[in-house]
């Protein structure tokens, strides 16, 4: 078998070389998390401190808050945000009018390219009590103006909804492509059998997407603690900190600002371990339940 498929080994060679050189060779750097890193002495020359940085993180007054905030944002994004690109792709697939379809696709995909700085800037402008469009609309229907960005409890909703706005179109691309490769003879057969659009969507299209959905879900579960730094950092202000301080922003302020790479590395490693553990569990579950899994 190996001999017969010798060419396949050449297929994987470039990628393997890349991974070894740029990912596996540098992996010795993980030990920064267990050392007190002095840049001039190099990684190996820096003293070993064991779990010191981890303990600093665990003992921090903010440890539980920060993890709680991260999970809150992450899970909300997953539960509320994940289905939307799938739905969007399914709906677009049923559109016969080609021009309209292209229009919707292009318009929904465009927000992905707006840089985070501008995106959050706009968000803040829209939500301003006295001059933001959202509050203007509330006032127009007689409701009270709200300082959305000031109420910490709103934070994860604002984060998630704006992410949905920005990313759904882009995320739906992979599903649109998957739907495009559905065998049309199958579809014809279903029509002949009397299935209407809704039924076809549920019984043919959706199943086709299942492998991709499952894989994406598994991979998402592996980033449960990794809520992105930039957007949250830009959205933070003194009044919403109780809900907006997440692991990555906390580490940034506590570590990187003083050049404390070791601390940042330790927290990062902790993150990765938890993420990986969750991934393994979810993958195991997926293997038991279905055919698709990550490995």
């Amino acid at each position: 078998m190996i001999l017969r498929n010798w060419q396949l080994y050449l297929f994987v060679l470039p990628a393997v070389v890349y991974y070894i050189v740029f990912h596996y060779v540098p992996i010795y750097g993980v030990q920064i998390a267990f050392r007190q890193y002095y840049p001039m002495r190099g990684i190996l020359g820096s003293p070993w401190v064991g779990m010191k940085h981890f303990m600093r993180f665990f003992n921090s007054y903010y440890f539980t808050t920060v993890i709680g905030n991260t999970l809150r944002i992450s899970l909300t994004a997953l539960i509320v945000g994940f289905p939307i690109p799938v739905l969007l792709a399914l709906m677009l697939n049923e559109v016969q009018h080609l021009r309209f379809k292209k229009l919707v696709q292009t318009v929904t995909y465009a927000p992905h390219f707006i840089s985070m700085v501008v995106m959050v800037g706009m968000l803040i402008l829209f939500l301003t009590p006295s001059s933001g469009i959202i509050n203007h609309m509330l006032a127009a229907v007689g409701m009270e103006r709200k300082a959305f960005m000031q109420d910490a409890r709103n934070f994860h909703w604002i984060y998630v909804f704006s992410s949905i706005w920005q990313e759904s179109g882009w995320s739906s691309v992979i599903f649109v492509a998957a739907l495009a490769s559905i065998d049309s003879s199958q579809v014809e057969a279903a029509i002949i059998d009397g299935a209407n659009k809704l039924q076809r969507m549920v019984y043919i299209n959706l199943p086709v997407l299942i492998p991709t959905i499952v894989i994406m879900l598994i991979m998402r579960s592996g980033s449960i603690l990794s809520v992105g730094f930039e957007k949250v950092y830009l959205m933070q202000n003194a009044t919403n900190l109780s809900r907006s301080e997440i692991i990555s922003t906390y580490v940034y302020k506590a570590g990187l600002i003083d050049g404390d790479f070791s601390f940042a590395a330790a927290v990062g490693l902790f993150n990765s371990l938890i993420n990986f553990a969750i991934l393994v569990l979810v993958n195991l579950f997926a293997r038991r339940v279905g055919e698709t899994s990550l490995w």
Binding site: P39, S60, Y61, Y62, I124, S130, S131, A238, T239, L256
Partner: protein
């Protein structure tokens, strides 16, 4: 005899002239030297330092070419770390803004060169500066007695730090009140502002006090209550030789109560915590602002620019000495020499040159004839280069981006023929100078001390910021929650931190 005297005089004059000329331009190196300098890109338009007018001047006259490698602030931290980690260090850092912690850390690790010996041997101008202003040396010496980075020093009174607090004179007239000198008077003025149509547009849109990112005139209020604070990140003060923690103090509670009152009665812009600087300025441009803290009124509220004046330091029932905190114009960590450089002496001589009157002028405004020129009456005016809109764009983008350390130049700056600059200067002299108080020092800690406190300080800092916001908005009731709030600091080991700072302060006091 006469002839001999004459020739002596002539020779003397020639000697003096050539001495003077020699003093003007002496190359620091025998052969042209190129050095690399890494720093923050402080201005938008400049490309490379070696191509600027001052860069070229250095090449031609001192024989040193400074090649710049600069980065914008969001990647600067990583870049510094990577430079140290990979050993790819430049010859020097400029426009670096190295904090006291970074200087102590990197200095102790041997990444930055200790400058003490170089200053002793070659630092003519540096030593002169130290003599004139001893607090400079104390502020830049780390706990182990070394100087690792050189500061940028402002000497003009208007630029000594502490902020600028503005109040609208036109509005004061309209409500018939005097400039407030106590916190109670200020409150009354704000109420009056709110209830009168001060900007005369028939709409009740006046905002008596505003700010951005949660900060308005907080330091002014804190100072009125007796605290010597430069900014909201000053957590420590000293009382009778003992260091204490400001955010846990009873006086700080009064500050919170005062600000909360202003917020609750809508005297303080209720959007202050959610709006950014640009939104704040937009309000100024619409003539909505009665008072605020800001760089220049003619910039923040261009339509009423000169109808504002400084709000002097105030007093309160807690404190009757007006205080205006300054940082002495000190911007530490502007330049530093990397230990791996091959030309420490030459580079230091260059840095020392920038502390001379001529060097400081060069760094600030460049050689004569480009961004400025003398007028007949001894003052000087700005010049704008071709293709640039303002003198500043020309000055910082093409002439000199002000990257090096400098000291003053005091005499020169005074002679500037610029109405705005003169106006600001006069306001400072009239309102703030009499009350100048040097800030509680930015203490240099040893490595063990840093280790002990950094974890606690991060958490403390966050808590102070969050709690302050909640108290001012009114989400947490001050009266009910104050004790629990103070207790939390104990849980965060504030006692340990205070002990460390006491030790460091005693060290500082001894060095002065």
């Amino acid at each position: 005899m006469g002839k001999k005297l004459l020739s002596l005089v002539i020779v003397c004059m020639l000697a003096m002239t050539s001495l003077a000329l020699a003093e003007e331009i002496t190359p620091i190196v025998d052969e042209p030297l190129t050095i690399t300098a890494m720093g923050l890109k402080g201005t938008l338009f400049v490309e490379n330092y070696e191509d600027t007018i001052v860069g070229k001047w250095l090449t031609e006259n001192l024989g040193i070419t400074v090649k710049s490698e600069w980065y914008s602030s969001d990647i600067w931290q990583e870049k510094k770390g990577l430079a140290f980690a990979s050993g790819n260090l430049p010859d020097l850092f400029f426009n670096a803004g190295l904090s006291s912690i970074e200087q102590a850390k990197y200095g102790a690790q041997g990444a930055l060169l200790s400058l003490n010996d170089l200053i002793e041997e070659y630092g003519v101008n540096t030593k002169a500066m130290f003599e004139e202003a001893p607090y400079i040396k104390a502020s830049i010496t780390t706990a182990d007695g070394n100087i690792y980075a050189l500061p940028y020093v402002e000497t003009l009174v208007r630029d000594l730090g502490g902020g600028r607090y503005w109040i609208h004179t036109g509005w004061l007239e309209k409500v018939g009140m005097e400039e407030p000198t106590t916190l109670d008077e200020y409150y009354d003025v704000l109420v009056a502002f709110k209830n009168t149509d001060c900007n005369g547009n028939g709409v009740a849109d006046e905002i008596p006090l505003s700010g951005s990112d949660g900060v308005s005139v907080d330091c002014m209020v804190l100072r009125a209550l007796g605290f010597n604070v430069l900014s909201l990140s000053d957590f420590f003060n000293v009382r009778d030789g003992k260091v204490f923690f400001i955010p846990g103090d009873e006086g700080y509670r009064e500050y919170l109560e005062y600000m909360h009152k202003l917020y609750a009665e809508q005297l303080l812009d209720n959007e202050v915590f959610v709006q950014n600087y640009q939104q704040f300025v937009a309000k100024g441009e619409q003539s909505l602002l009665g008072s605020y803290e800001g760089s220049a009124s003619y910039y923040i509220a261009p339509n009423d620019g000169y109808d504002y004046t400084y709000m002097g330091p105030m007093t309160s029932d807690r404190n009757d000495t007006p205080i205006f905190t300054i940082n002495g114009g000190l911007s530490i960590g502007r330049t530093a020499i990397c230990a791996t450089t091959k030309h420490p002496v030459e580079i230091f001589k260059l840095l020392d040159f920038f502390y001379s009157e001529q060097g400081s002028l060069l760094n600030d405004w460049g050689p004569e004839g480009y961004a400025w020129e003398y007028n007949e009456d001894g003052t000087w005016s700005n010049l704008v280069g071709e293709g640039c809109e303002t003198v500043q764009e020309w000055r910082q983008g093409y002439v000199t981006p002000c990257c090096f350390n400098q000291y003053g130049p005091y005499e020169f700056k005074l002679k500037q023929n610029n109405a705005n600059a003169a106006w600001l200067n006069q306001l400072t002299i009239d309102n703030y100078e009499p009350y100048f108080t040097y800030r509680f020092p930015d203490l240099m800690l040893t490595e063990e001390e840093l280790d002990t406190v950094s974890g606690a300080l991060t958490d403390v800092g966050k808590y102070v910021e969050e709690a302050r916001a909640r108290f001012i908005i009114g989400e947490d009731d001050i009266a009910a929650t104050w004790d629990a709030y103070v207790k939390n600091f104990e849980a965060m080991n504030i006692e340990t931190v205070l002990n460390v700072y006491q030790t460091a302060y005693d060290r500082y006091a001894a060095a002065m």
